[in-house]
Amino acid sequence: MPLTARNIGSLVIDSLCDRAQEDNFAVIGLYCDFLSQQEQTTTNIMGALLKQLVVRGGIPDHLRAAFEKGKEEFGGRGPRLADLMGMLKTVIASLRQVFICLDGLGECLPKRLLEVLESLRDILRESPGTRIFLTGRPHVGEDVQRYFSRAVVIPISPNPNDIQNYVEMRLDRDSEPEAMSNDLRVDIVRVILEKISNV
């Protein structure tokens, strides 16, 4: 279904990426996922963000070298969060501006969510130009505002235009178009929009 906050997340990432190349911004992000709760540790989440910056290129050689060296040193054991955060903050500070998008925050384990928010706050303290885009269920908002008291909240609710476009798209793809008349079509759209406005 195309109307959830999650879809907004992917839309925002795309809209940022469209201009990222020309403006020398970096856009990094991650989709939190119930099914990956165990492997989505704070260390892995921050590591995934760092990896995206390194793969993207455009970071100073000595930082890239430190990243490679870290890989060798830690080997299979995996890095500590503090080491990773140090590296991530340095890399972000070396770039003009970094956009971080984390989607579906409510799907992290609750204690991880707080760690993730704290790590993001650390990054922002070091590089205040960083822009952070988060999506999640309304209850997550309290946690977000605990760490970012000036966070701007935008509620995502069903938008009648979006719904109308979506219903019409589905009707266009109907496998039995001969069973549809114009009147029926108009009725379907009208009734669905009425039901939604009563929610």
């Binding site: 992917s10 839309l11 989709y31 205040p128 999506t135 000036r150 701007v152 069903p158």
Partner: protein, 63 residues
């Protein structure tokens, strides 16, 4: 390249993008809140934008 993280966000992004319906949500990109967040380069004042919504928003009525 799996030292730093076993997560592969780009795969997930391709999936989310493929499931998206064109045009939906574009209103968000036009809001003043989004634009201020997007284009303000200084200070940490407008640094964090949080889009909040229930997981089933609209879903039940459109299946």
């Amino acid at each position: 390249m799996c030292w730093h993280s076993p997560l592969e966000p780009s795969n997930r992004h391709q999936g989310a993008r493929a499931g998206r319906f064109d045009g939906v949500g574009n209103w968000l990109l036009e809001t003043s809140e989004f634009r201020e967040w997007r284009y303000s380069e200084g200070g940490a004042g407008k640094a964090v934008l949080f889009c909040s919504g229930n997981p089933g928003v609209g879903k039940t009525y459109l299946r």
